[in-house]
Amino acid sequence: MATLTVNGKQHNIDAAPSTPLLYVLRNDLKLNGAKYGCGLGQCGSCTVLVDKEPVYACVTPISVLEGRTITTLEGLGTPENPGPVQRAFIAEQAAQCGYCIPGMIVRTQALIEHKPKATEQEIRDYMAPNLCRCGTQVRILRAIRRALKETRTAEVVR
C-alpha cells in the first residue's frame, strides 16, 4: 500500500511498490492525462510533474513517490476552467490527434517554472524529450511562446 499525493489529494494505492506510476494514474485514479506511448522513457507521452520537475511516469515506480507531490495534466486545469498553459494551447489550436499534447503541456508547465525567459533554442532543447508524430510541433512551439509570454505579463501585472 503506497500513499501518493496527486493533484493535491492523497490516495492510498493497493499495487506492488515497483508498479510504474503511469498505470496507477490511469487505472487506479482514472486520470487520462498521462498516456502510454512507449513505456521506455523515450517519448514523453506519460510526462507528469513530481515536485515540479518533469518525469516519465512510465519508468517511475510508485515506491519512490512517498511524500512527494505529483501533478498531472488534470492538476493544471479543467475543461471548464483550463489553466494558463492549457489556455495557450487552446488559443493556438495546438493539437492534431492530441495524444502527445498532455505530455507537452505538463513539460511546458515545468519550463515556465524553471526558465520563464527561455529563448527559442532553450525551448526546443527543453522540449526535445517529448515526441509528436502528427507534426504539431510548429503549433506547440507557438503555444509555448504564448504561455511564456502570458505568464510573464501576468507576473508584471501582479
Binding site: 515497483s18 513505456g39 521506455l40 520537475e53 516519465y56 517511475t60 515506480p61 515506491s63 519512490v64
Partner: protein, 440 residues
Amino acid sequence: MRRFLLGLITFGVIGFAAFFVWAWHSEIAPVRAADSTTYDPAVVAKGAALASVGDCVTCHTQPGGKPFAGGYPVSTPFGTIYGSNITPDQDTGIGNWSQAAFRRAMHQGVTRKGEHLYPAFPYDHFTLANDGDIDAIYSFLMTRDPVQQANKAPDIPFPLNIRLAAAGWKLLFLRQGQLVPDPQQSAEWNRGAYLAEALGHCGACHSPRNFLGAEKKGEAYNGGVSDDWHAPALNEKSTAAAPWTVEAVYKYLHNGFDQYHGHPSGPMQAVAENLAKVPEADVRAIAVYIASLSGTDDAAKQQRADAALMTARAKTPTVESLAATTGSATTGATDGATIFAGACANCHRSGGQSPRARPVDLSLSNSVNAPDPGNLLHIVLSGIHPQSRERGFIMPGFATTLTDEQIVALAAYVRSNFSDKPQWTGIDTRLTQARKHSGP
C-alpha cells in the same frame, strides 16, 4: 657565501635567460587561405579520417555550435580552457596559418604568433605525429567552412594564466620526436600504437596525471579522469568484468557496442562516434594495440571473456524473478531492488521482446565495475542519448525522478547485485559532485 649566492643568482639569471630564449617562438607570417578547391581530395579525405581519430571536433566545437569553430569548455584542475576556432576563418580561425605554422602548433604547442598553448591541447601526443599526417589534417581543416567566431579566453587564475607557465610545463614534460616502432610487434600493432599515441591521445584520459597535470609516464593506462567521468584502466589494472580482446575493442570503438562491455558513454561516446567514420583497418589497428595493453589475445583471454558473459547473463534478472522479489513486498522509498524493478528492469532484464536492442548485461558494464561510482551516477542522472537524428540507445535520465537517497540506494543495489567488486564508499558525496557537474 656571497660569491656562492652571486653565482647562484648569475646561474639563475642565465638559466632563466636560456629558458626564455628556448621558450621564445617567433611569429610565423600570416598567409591568405588558399581556395579550398586547391587541396587534393584524397589528402583531405585522409585528413578527415585522422582528425576523427584525433577526436578534434569534440573539443573544438561548443555544444550546439558550428563544427571546429571552438568554444567547447575543457575543465582541468587548473581552470577551464576553451577549444579554439580551427576553421579556416581568416580573422578568428586558422585561415591565415601556413602549413608550417600548423605543424609547429601540433609538434610544439605554439600558436602561429608564437604563444604557448596550454597542454589541454594534447601536443604531448600530437608531437609524435608525422608531417605527412599533420599536413593531411591541415588540408582537411582548411577545406572546412570558415566560421567567424572569436576565441574565448581561458578561465585560469594567476600565475598559471601567464602563457610562459605552459613553456615551463613543456620544459618538464614535452618530449618531441617520433614514435619508434617496436620491431617485436606486428605492423598492425605499430600502426595502432602510432594512431592511439600520436593522434588518438587515449592516454590523455586513461592515464593518471601528476599535480602539474602531466600524464604519469610510469603509470600509463592505469586509468584517469575526464570531465568528472572515470576513464577506466586499459592495462592489466582494468576492472572490466570481461577482458578486452581485439574484437571487443574493435566493436566497442567502431560499432559503438560490444556485448562484453556495452557501449561508450560520457566523453567516450563522442570518441566512438568519431571512430565510426574512420577506415575499419585503422580502428582494428588501434584495437590490436589497446587490447595488447591488457595481455596477449589468446584462447585463455577469450575464455575469460566468455565466462564473464555467461555469468553476467545468469545474473541478469528475468521478469519472473523480479516479480518474485518485489511483487508483493512492502518496501520503503529507498529500496534499491524495488527502484530497479520499476525504473530499470524494463530494459535491464533478460528475455522478452522489448526493447529490441538490449543494453549490456549490467554485470559486464564498465560503470558498474568501476572503482568509483561516478560513471554509473552520471548515467543514472542524465541517461544516454544518441546523437541528434541517429539511431542508438536511449536511456532516460533519472535526475528529477529519484531523490539523492534513492539514487544512492539504487547504485548500491546495482553494485552489490551485479558486480563482484566490493561495495563503493561515499556514493553520496560522489553523487553531490556529479549532480553539480551535470548542472540542474
